[in-house]
């Protein structure tokens, strides 16, 4: 279950990372840096959750229904 601790990374990226990303420059992909950074955090969140899902033993085996 240790893999679940990875889920702490997205909140850190959004809420702590923003302190260092509050800037217009440099522009990345046509976006002001802050806008690029927050968008990148969203993608990062999805990637982290894919890793957590795949490695989490709770998602192994047949799905329990009813």
């Amino acid at each position: 279950m240790a893999v679940r601790w990875l889920a702490i990374l997205p909140p850190v990226a959004f809420l702590v990372g923003v302190l260092f990303a509050n800037s217009i420059t440099p522009y990345v992909l046509g976006l002001p840096f802050l806008w690029f950074y927050i968008s990148a955090c969203v993608v990062f969140t999805a990637l982290v959750m894919i890793v957590v899902y795949v490695l989490d033993p709770a998602n192994k085996g047949p799905e329990l229904q009813d």
């Binding site: 679940r4 889920a7 997205p10 909140p11 959004f14 809420l15 923003v18 302190l19 509050n22 800037s23 217009i24 522009y27 046509g30 976006l31 002001p32 802050l34 806008w35 927050i38 968008s39 955090c41 969203v42 993608v43 969140t45 999805a46 982290v48 959750m49 894919i50 957590v52 899902y53 989490d56 709770a58 998602n59 799905e63 329990l64 229904q65």
Partner: protein
């Protein structure tokens, strides 16, 4: 040919109504079918119901309105959903399992079962309805604006809201949650196409993405980052935290959790819903392009529709207006079902002990119209931004979070009296904020401060009453009541 816009919007609504009716056909419509669809939805439908909660008037018109009006702080909208899904991965499977074991239908049922208190459940139902009204109001406001603009002023926004209210209430009365799920499929396809199209075409219309941002930055230095207004980084962090933990505290979102077929649905969705959020960026781009296309609007809610009307032909305004209609219809219907079920199931039923299920269901269906009418009254007498309305609703629902999270993850972290005191303190505070128009205190989101205080009260009161109960039971030999 200005009427083309209205005709297309009208056709969209008719299609949505037919879908809703088809979805309801052949199902026995008892209250459980009407509200949780017999707990039969798989990952895709739950995904769409929950995504239906994201792509609402709030994002479509509110999000573009905020990027037009306040700039950088709009990024909170892109952030909180992702964090809400991360939390959902851990929290929702437990709530779903608990709800299934105890055959729960609504959010207050959870409180009643978990804390063994009918009074607490009624308080939760009432606060839930209070929170839903500004949210629903934002949907009505959006619909009114769409009809007003798409009719090129021939129909006033108040009449637009009246029409919208009737459409939503008819729709809900006929079809329930199953109808919402089917319309959500249609809505998501149409909205995705429309948002991607105008989110790219309008910035290109003003010279391309990079040029657009450079122009705005030159016009208004600091507008695109945090700190040019009272909404700085502390506001961002506190607002994201509050809205992320409040995300699933909405009665209709909490109720949508019960519709899932299995608990893995939520963990599965946590991987993909964040990416779905990125579409919001294109909504925000529309608002930025609107700064250059239609500068100086007094009502920022109009940014998207005004820009579209200025650039495109009426028939295309109709397509976008139709998409906007759907964006309000699905969440609006879920909220109406949510609010009417709360009042009928969790307040009317316990108060009138010998009501039959048929009577409760009748009350629920009548309440749909009552709540819609009350909301219409507020909508017609308000000029708040759509985002501000949603944040006000969040202030209320987030007050459930401390009790829920302690109830889900701890055996004894919160007890009945602690949960009751915490929620009361939080709700009274945010009611005062709402009445005095306070949204920011010390640079922080005011609702965030209320929920912190609420959490402290829940923990302190639970601990105090627990030790009192333990002392009492130690002296009398009885077991603690909670």
């Amino acid at each position: 040919m200005h009427s083309a816009a209205l005709v297309i919007i009208f056709l969209t609504v008719v299609i949505a109504l037919i879908l809703g009716l088809l979805a309801a056909r052949g199902k026995q419509m008892n209250l459980q079918q009407w509200t949780v669809a017999g707990r039969s939805f798989g990952a895709l439908f739950v995904f769409l119901l929950m995504a239906g909660d994201i792509y609402t008037t709030f994002t479509f018109l509110g999000g573009s309105g905020w990027s037009y009006g306040v700039g950088g702080p709009t990024l909170y909208i892109l952030s909180y959903g992702s964090l809400a899904y991360v939390l959902a991965y851990f929290m929702l499977p437990r709530i779903w399992r608990y709800a299934k074991t105890h055959n729960l239908i609504s959010q207050p049922d959870y409180f009643e079962q978990r804390f063994q208190s009918k009074g607490l459940a009624m308080l939760v139902a009432l606060v839930g309805v209070v929170a839903i009204i500004p949210y629903l109001q934002s949907q009505f406001t959006g619909l009114g604006l769409i009809v007003e603009i798409a009719s090129y002023g021939a129909i006033s926004s108040v009449w637009g809201m009246v029409i919208a209210m009737v459409v939503i209430a008819v729709y809900v009365t006929l079809s329930g949650v199953r109808g919402s799920a089917w319309t959500a499929v249609l809505k998501d396809i149409v909205l995705l196409a429309v948002v991607l199209f105008i989110g790219i075409a309008l910035p290109l219309h003003v010279g391309g993405f990079s040029a657009m941002f450079h122009k705005i930055d030159a016009m208004r230095p600091g507008f695109l980052t945090f700190g040019s207004t009272a909404m700085g980084i502390p506001w961002f962090i506190s607002t994201v935290l509050m809205t992320a933990v409040g995300f699933y505290m909405w009665p209709h979102a909490f109720g949508a959790v019960y519709t899932a077929r299995s608990e893995r649905v939520f963990r599965n969705n946590a991987m993909f819903l964040p990416l779905y959020q990125l579409i919001l960026l294109f909504v925000f781009f529309v608002g930025f392009a609107a700064i250059l296309i239609v500068p100086g609007l007094t009502n920022s809610n109009l940014a998207l529709m005004s820009a579209v009307t200025k650039v495109y032909a009426p028939w295309f305004v109709g397509v976008i207006g139709g998409a906007g209609m759907l964006a309000a219809l699905v969440p609006g219907s879920l909220m109406l079902i949510g609010a009417s079920t709360l009042l009928s199931e969790n307040i009317y039923r316990p108060l009138s002990r010998n009501a039959t299920p048929a009577q409760v269901q009748l009350v629920a269906r009548v309440l749909v119209w009552v709540i819609a009418a009350i909301t219409l009254f507020f909508a017609a007498n308000s000029n708040a931004t759509i985002v501000a309305l949603l944040l006000m609703g969040y202030n209320f629902v987030t007050q459930f979070f401390p009790a829920v999270i302690l109830g889900v993850f701890t055996q004894r972290g919160a007890n009945r009296i602690g949960a009751l005191c915490g929620i009361l303190v939080g709700v009274i505070l945010v009611a005062i904020f709402a009445l005095t128009g306070t949204s920011i205190i010390w640079g922080l989101n005011a609702g965030f401060l209320a929920v912190i205080l609420n959490a402290i009260v829940v923990l302190a009161v639970s601990a105090a009453t627990r030790s009192a109960a333990t002392v009492e039971s130690a002296s009398t030999g009885a077991t603690p009541a909670d």
